[in-house]
Symmetry: C2
């Protein structure tokens, strides 16, 4: 069911020591097995795949008490958060199982012949079809929900694409154990051999993206690492889609009315959000626009716990964050409003509130909008909402954008700007926390993501599908979903008219 | 409404001579105008955009008698075909107008809050939103339907994206005149200034793909030219989607039963299809698999008019085709079954039927599957259907794949292979002729196209849209399509359930 290969320096034969979930195999062998599995999974029914996804969810729920301590030891994220993340991960698998049985994700479309059109229309029937084996690169900061059995894996398996996960080096033991559990669950549920595999090693990851057998890549991680793999995927002899969720500063606008009405409440909310999980969220509110004279930065500084040194995911992440904060602190136009900048800390982070002006941001947006992945935020004081919106527009691309306003304010101009740069626009609340649902959108303009699709929510499946149209096909040659009688009762468009099952 | 710039050697100021549709403008000015237009078009209603599309269609229909002679002089495609192509082009514009008013292309999705999910779900509402200004590169072989006012332009304008067309050098007068008519129609219909522009010159085209104001590219043309622009789009500091429709050999399988029952009828059908429009179709059936001993190649050779030297689109296309045919003819494993290979011809092509074996194809697929864009086809004799399918699988990616079989044949294995390599699978008939409808799919695995989307049919709009989710938005801040009362009556998914208007 799975193979684990582990070669630190080559993409050749695997180290047997890491291959506890299967015989050691070369990358070529792993991908050949995935291609063989695809011949089965491409023809599988949605009901079959739903049982596979549910089996994985059940197995992970059952193993939670074993997995959470491993995850906590490797990530320092704490049992409460990690238990919640397991529940999120398994709910996500079950949501995809529900969605594929419902069937509208296939976009099934039937056009009967019409001799009156220009050109004349034959019988045409369109459906979405899985791409083939998919490479998944999980994130360090969500060891369950965006890792081995996370959203990319779940959405790809749901469509019938085999998955090869490159395990993250920040939680290697958890990755391997999760992979073993996924593989066993799939085997017990009757899924084809090779449908899921887990590999490790940077060189293997690089080779995976370049391998002719791989048809798409899902990635959650840094802009730098993502760009390297995006370039590899795009420069193949046969380029493949690279779905990266990369980097975001998630701007927040506090309107003058909101600041006047409830600055302290908002300051407390921000403090909770940007320090959650030591600030290690892709949706961390990194840049917050408050009116000049509102004292917002100081209010935030007043409610953080600046003495707590929280262990971060890895020493490298902690060091990169500290370096990013240092770069800002060194600037003449940035001031530390509160918190501790500890150059000697190793592996930990403490809440830091920085502040600057909208004028400064407009003069040098690329430096001031560089993502600092950790427990810091930059409060930007603005003279007018127009000025703030101009500065927010300069963000370019981000996962989320938030406005805190008072009831009755005209938000037309604000919504226009936030919709242009973000994948999710929030009215109140804080961007950390990404619900998994039909309407969710996790992905915005570059650099927040590298595609026009989402990595969270039901429509994440669209990334791993491509349309095929059948022209004048005999009924027996058509997929069940496209036959006249619609035996599966799925939603379809027939002669231009949407029909609900 | 439009500007035309024409600089052969720089992307600087334009040559006034080509700027009859507006003041000469630099590329920066053209794109700035498009961005200004986007601020209006992004907030336009579907009804408004439908009137813009319909106005273009009406204007082109009215100008048909003026445009077709220009097109014929530049392309040699003949008035009958070109009149039909105008009708196809305007029907296409009107279909998009219908589709945007229907509204399901927006994928409007409403999730009401649910505190019982993990994590708890806020109010989330998702809609698709236009990307921004789009660059369109038309094709030489469809001077109307895949050019200035063709499918890429129509689908982008339909979504609310401004369009900047790089006119094709194979039909410059037609491009310019079409652009003037489009611009005037849009102006009269009240569309914003800058929504549509037409530029010329290779350097301007290159600069267009690299310009920060451009958010996506639509392209129909050669694999070589498309790859160059794809690489530019992908290597930008902010990569943008490049939707290329590039190259296809469109394999056709004639089963032993079909060959036995009606070889001559099929030979005549093939001859008509591969010589149509001097073979200058991206859906030209370039490789045809027939059983050994069926004499299929000779039957095709018997019904072609080998003496007719048909003018091709350009001397360059004719020369490239002749060179491609020559390369095949020089091989020991390829034989000329019929037709004339005229090394001295300039600007014309004559029907040529080549033949080889499946064994030869399997030994060197990349050479034998190189697209020859012109009136030639390669008949591949196979020993068994399994062998033919193995050779067809080696095609890798193609726009279409066709099977000619007899009623009652089990096509399971055939359909599996053809579905894997093609965007459209035909049962009988010939691939030339691409209906414009809801179910059409024009685009398959690389090298036939560079994305998981179609360039023909209603769903071509998805290429120029990205999702945005609104979280806990007050009703007044939401687009009409996402408000609780659904005032526009469009199809939506509400709490996971698809609702038809």
């Amino acid at each position: 069911m799975t193979s684990t290969i582990d070669t630190a320096s080559t993409s050749g034969p695997a180290s047997p020591s890491a291959a506890s979930a299967g015989a050691a195999a070369s990358l070529d062998e792993v991908i050949a097995a995935a291609r063989a599995a695809f011949a089965v999974s491409v023809a599988s029914s949605a009901e079959q795949r739903a049982t596979w996804l549910t089996a994985i969810a059940d197995a992970l729920d059952a193993a939670r008490d074993e997995l959470v301590p491993i995850a906590d030891a490797e990530t320092h994220l704490g049992p409460a958060r990690l238990n919640g993340e397991v529940a999120r991960t398994t709910a996500q698998l079950r949501l995809f199982a529900t969605a594929i049985v419902e069937g509208s994700y296939l976009e099934a479309t039937v056009d009967h012949p019409d001799a009156t059109t220009t050109p004349p229309r034959p019988d045409l029937r369109r459906i979405l079809r899985p791409l083939g084996p998919v490479a998944v690169f999980g994130a360090s900061n969500f060891p369950f929900a965006f890792s081995v059995a996370g959203g990319d894996t779940a959405s790809a398996l749901a469509t019938g694409c085999p998955v090869i996960v490159k395990g993250h080096s920040a939680h290697p033991r958890l990755s391997l154990r999760t992979a073993e559990i996924v593989a066993e669950a799939l085997r017990d549920a009757g899924a084809p051999e090779g449908l899921f595999a887990h590999i490790v090693g940077r060189e293997n990851g690089t080779a995976l993206v370049q391998h002719p057998g791989i048809r798409a890549v899902g990635f959650t991680g840094s802009l730098h690492g993502g760009r390297v793999l995006f370039d590899l995927a795009s420069s193949r002899p046969d380029p493949i889609p690279f779905y990266g969720e990369l980097s975001a500063v998630n701007p927040v606008l506090v309107t003058p009315d909101a600041a006047a009405a409830r600055a302290d409440e908002l300051a407390a909310g921000l403090a909770g959000s940007f320090t959650l999980g030591a600030g290690q969220f892709c949706t961390n509110p990194g840049v917050v626009f408050a009116p000049v004279g509102s004292g917002f930065a100081e209010r935030v500084a007043a409610v953080i716990d600046a003495d707590a040194a929280v262990p971060m995911l890895t020493d490298g992440i902690a060091a990169a964050w500290a370096a990013g904060v240092d770069e800002l602190v060194e600037r003449d136009d940035v001031r530390v409003a509160g918190g501790r900048v500890d150059a000697d800390a190793v592996g930990t982070g403490s809440a830091v509130v920085l502040t600057t002006t909208a004028e400064a941001v407009l003069a040098d947006p690329s430096s001031l909008y560089a993502e600092c992945f950790g427990p810091s935020t930059l409060v930007v004081e603005y003279e007018s909402v127009d000025q703030a919106l101009e500065a927010i527009a300069a963000v370019g691309g981000t996962l989320t954008a938030t406005v805190h306003a008072e009831p009755g304010e005209d938000l037309t101009a604000v919504v226009a700007v936030l919709s242009e740069i973000a994948g999710r626009v929030l009215f109140g609340g804080w961007p950390t926390g990404v619900a998994v649902s039909w309407a969710q959108q996790h992905g915005g303009p570059w650099p927040s993501s590298s595609s026009i699709h989402t990595s969270v929510g039901v429509t994440a499946m669209r990334r791993f599908l491509r349309p095929v149209a059948y022209q004048d096909a005999p009924e027996s040659a058509l997929p069940l979903e496209l036959r006249d009688a619609n035996p599966l009762g799925i939603p379809r468009r027939v002669d231009g008219v949407l029909q609900v099952g």
